[in-house]
C-alpha cells in the first residue's frame, strides 16, 4: 500500500519485530476473549489459547519464510 510521508528519521523504542508481535497478539487476544466469553475463567483460557496460537504461528511462519529473500 502506498500512502504516508517520508519525513525525518526517528529512532524507535519499539523496533523489535518480536516485541511488536507480542503486543499485537496480547491486545487482539484480550479483546477477542472478552468479546466472546462472559466468565472470567473462560476468558483467561480463550485469551491464553489465542495468544499462544498467534505467537506460535508467527514464530513458525518466521522460520519457514526465513530462507526467502524480501
Amino acid at each position: 500500500m502506498t500512502w504516508g510521508s517520508a519525513g525525518n528519521e526517528r529512532t524507535h523504542l519499539m523496533a523489535s519485530h518480536l516485541l511488536v508481535m507480542l503486543v499485537f497478539a496480547a491486545l487482539v487476544s484480550l479483546v477477542f476473549a472478552v468479546l466472546l466469553k462472559d466468565e472470567p475463567v473462560e476468558q483467561v483460557r480463550l485469551g491464553g489459547l489465542l495468544f499462544g496460537a498467534f505467537v506460535g504461528t508467527g514464530v513458525v511462519l518466521g522460520w519457514i519464510l526465513f530462507p526467502f529473500p524480501l
Binding site: 500500500m1 500512502w3 504516508g4 524507535h12 519499539m14 499485537f24 484480550l30 479483546v31 472478552v34
Partner: protein
C-alpha cells in the same frame, strides 16, 4: 429444531422475561451501537456490561495510539485505490479517536519507517475490532446475549 419452533420459543422466552423481542429494544440497541462506535467500550458500559466495557475502553485506544506511535498512516478514502479505501474504512471504525487524530494531523505515517506497516496493522485491526464490538453491543442491546 426447526426455524418456526425456534422462533416461537424465542418469543415465549422473551415474553416470560417481561419484554417483547421487537421494536422497543431496537432504539436502545442502536444507541448502544453508536456509543460503541464513538468511544470503544462505551456501548457495553451503557448497557451495564462493566467488565467488557472497561477492557474495550482500555485495549482499543491503546492499540490505536500504538498504531500512530509506530508511524502508521490513517489511510485516505481514495476510490482509485480500493485496498487503501478499505484500510481507511477499517480505521474509521475507531470512532472519536480516529476523528481526533485526523483533525489533529496525526496519522500521516512515514513510509520509510521500519514500523510503518506494523503501525498500519494496529490502526486497521483496532478499527475492525471496534466494528465487531459495535455488533456485539447491538446484540446485547436487543437482548440476544
Amino acid at each position: 429444531m426447526g426455524r418456526k419452533s425456534r422462533d416461537s420459543r424465542r418469543t415465549r422466552v422473551a415474553a416470560e422475561a417481561g419484554h417483547t423481542p421487537s421494536a422497543p429494544d431496537s432504539g436502545r440497541a442502536l444507541v448502544a451501537m453508536a456509543l460503541a462506535w464513538a468511544i470503544p467500550g462505551a456501548g457495553h458500559l451503557w448497557l451495564g456490561r462493566r467488565q467488557k466495557g472497561v477492557v474495550f475502553l482500555l485495549a482499543l485506544p491503546v492499540m490505536f495510539a500504538l498504531g500512530l506511535w509506530l508511524e502508521g498512516a490513517l489511510a485516505p478514502f481514495d476510490p482509485t485505490q480500493p485496498l487503501v479505501f478499505l484500510a481507511g474504512f477499517a480505521a474509521l471504525g475507531n470512532g472519536v479517536p480516529y476523528l481526533l487524530a485526523a483533525i489533529g494531523g496525526l496519522g500521516e505515517g512515514r513510509v520509510v519507517a521500519v514500523t510503518f506497516e506494523y503501525g498500519n496493522t494496529f490502526l486497521i485491526v483496532s478499527g475492525l475490532l471496534n466494528m465487531l464490538i459495535c455488533l456485539d453491543a447491538y446484540d446485547v442491546g436487543l437482548g440476544r446475549k
